[in-house]
Symmetry: C2
């Protein structure tokens, strides 16, 4: 996915996040879910009129109540939504029938305030599993948020969805096409790819392009494959993961077959930026690691090898220690369960050749170690199968701080 | 596999390790592969006469030279061996044609000393990947070891195969049957389930039972499934993993169909003890975690869920922090890729119920936290599918020390 496909459109960075596209407002506040005074823990994203809506949800069998409710709402409306309500600090997962009722009530409060059907409100939660929502805090909070909606509050939403995230994540792009210009914006949270306990990855994308829900769903899925689905902090898939996209149509630019690639490119660019930010802010992370696997038999094989390397604790700790330990990379690739000939594979770190024809190039190790002392590092593996399957995955290093965060959380 | 199957035989602990069964001798010494003066790094295990031999090898595509050589030797001899030669400190992996020649030469030196065909010698190496063996140290070392073989040196072998292992691992059992008594002994090394860099898991089992190679291979595979193949420290599968079994026949007890379960029970008991010792000595480990998954649809499903929980960094860090975080256990089970209904699943920690019918039992959390402060802890997950598939997996906690060991190794 390049920004110059067919040069029929251009994608350039814009300022702001979810409210950068026309037709969207947001509000965020502290309602009291988080103990810390003033810590933002609730927000509403609203479209001025019913928007086309699409969603991607966790594949975990243990699905949180807001996931169940949002899926049902998208089914009922056939992909239309007026708003999304999100809380942080509580995942509303493994909370039984009460949890479902609470998620429904969150939607109902927003629907009442905006004057829309309850099914046009999507719900997301992020935080500790197995704890019930304090509805006596949440309900008044939603009522207040609903009367505070403003286009200038996109950045507040980016903060209100955070849990252990070290920084807020938002991005927007302008997509110029021969038939007009539209904007795509978004925000996301997550500090483990998935943090089943403190909750997980959430993503919210908006656009003022005019697009049918089914097309929006297809474009969202296409853009997520190489962005949100290509990152990992710790290999954990959560109970609350979801990414929503809302399209207001306010730009008047209608997405047909010709402009579909431009929509995907816009969603892709925002998703990629947010996804990489999640990894950069991974729990305890000090380095962003870009892993590129080329020439596997298939793209699926390439992704599997890249994910295996990305989730290898030995590779992640070696990178943390700036040790160009190509042996661990070869061993991880070799156990990924895909077919290739180790003697035809090459391994590069920071572009520096370390392994080729089954043999090390240890004379290059000092240069590779220098590269690994940087904050942004790269691992390139060429499998040499002739199949041409390529994939990129982003991850972070594994540090003592990760152990500390996750050994002490909740206590 | 219980020790009282059909009560036709009994299995009781014995002293010693690989030389506990009759017909075996060993020798170990410092030849100079390891830099530290006096650190044992070479050993030979010998049978007085050609023994039935069986081997299990890493499934990693990147296979070390000694793995390639040992597999070929077992193929040529149809499962006969006189000796095993093992070095620690160097994995002889990713070392190309030179590595193969060196592994062959190790076998040749032992064969010359014992007066047997080179194919009757098996080879194993463990240590850093991608570094060549110092044959000027190894060859004289092997020659010296070959003239120092002694039945009293089993414990020396257990030490000579160690790399980062915090302690040596050996075990032996006596198997009493209606047709006589035989002994099974063994030693193993490994501090990550697999440490591709410092090398991996190696296991050496001996018995004085009289058994055909094909039967020994079958029994070895059967006993490894629920022992060596049921442990994980970090989910990494190495380039050098192997387990060998040698049967001298010196006890005169012939293994036929009736006594086959007794042989498996003996091998199982020794393998289980060694496997659990590996986890207990896992890199940075402070706790042994026994994970039992019951009532999955199949045994394979149960094992997959147990392994997913065992490799979850969030579960491992929570156990390290003595946090009875059942939400992370449920989330790991839910992403394991097997089918079950979360609302029918139960989670217990130390036997204490924490999750049932989709809801937490947080009143029990303090008792479960007490249990997790112990050194040996248990996690039990009942999936409630009605399928009856059970599996047990052993792992250890994930600690800052693991990060330290693997971020600093080699530097």
């Amino acid at each position: 996915m390049s920004t110059s496909v067919a040069s029929m459109f251009s994608v350039t960075a814009a300022t702001g996040g979810v409210t950068a596209p026309e037709g969207f407002t947001a509000a965020g506040l502290h309602c009291g879910i988080k103990a810390k005074p003033g810590a933002l823990d609730l927000c509403v994203l609203a479209a001025q009129a019913p928007a086309a809506a699409a969603g991607l949800f966790t594949t975990n069998l243990a699905q949180a109540a807001p996931v169940t409710v949002s899926k049902r709402h998208l089914d009922v409306t056939l992909g239309r939504a007026r708003a999304v309500v999100v809380n942080s600090g509580c995942a509303n997962a493994c909370t039984g029938e009460d949890g479902l009722l609470n998620a429904r009530q969150m939607a109902a409060e927003v629907a009442a305030a905006l004057g829309c059907p309850i099914e046009e409100v999507l719900v997301a939660s992020t935080g500790v599993i197995g704890v019930g929502l304090k509805m006596d805090k949440v309900v008044p909070g939603i009522r207040q948020a609903a009367v505070s909606l403003d286009r200038g509050q996109g950045g507040v939403m980016a903060q209100a969805i955070m849990t252990t995230d070290p920084f807020p994540k938002e991005h927007a792009v302008t997509v110029k096409t021969p038939r007009g210009t539209f904007t795509v914006g978004g925000t996301a949270k997550g500090s483990g790819m998935i943090e089943p306990n403190m909750a997980t990855m959430l993503g919210f994308l908006t656009t003022d392009a005019k697009v049918e829900p089914a097309v929006l769903q297809q474009a969202l899925r296409a853009s997520a494959d190489d962005t949100f689905n290509a990152i990992t902090v710790d290999g954990e898939c959560s109970t609350n993961d979801c990414v929503f996209a809302l399209a207001s149509g306010a730009s008047g630019v209608e997405i047909d077959e010709d402009l579909y690639p431009a929509l995907v490119a816009g969603l892709y660019q925002v998703s990629r930026e947010l996804a990489i930010s999640i990894v950069r802010g991974g729990e305890g992370a000090t380095k962003l690691i870009t892993i590129v696997v080329r020439d596997a038999r298939t793209v699926a094989d390439a992704r599997r090898v890249a994910k295996t390397i990305a989730n290898s604790p030995l590779v992640k700790t070696a990178v943390h220690g700036a040790d160009p330990n190509w042996g661990r990379i070869v061993a991880a690739a070799g156990r990924a369960g895909v077919s290739f000939d180790v003697n035809r594979a090459t391994v590069r770190v920071g572009g520096i050749l370390l392994f080729e024809n089954g043999l090390p190039h240890d004379d290059n190790a000092p240069k590779a170690a220098d590269h690994l002392s940087l904050k942004d590092v790269s691992i390139d593996v060429h499998l040499g199968t002739g199949g041409g399957g390529d994939a990129t995955v982003w991850t972070c290093d594994l540090t003592a701080e990760y152990v500390k965060i996750n050994g002490e959380y909740r206590t």
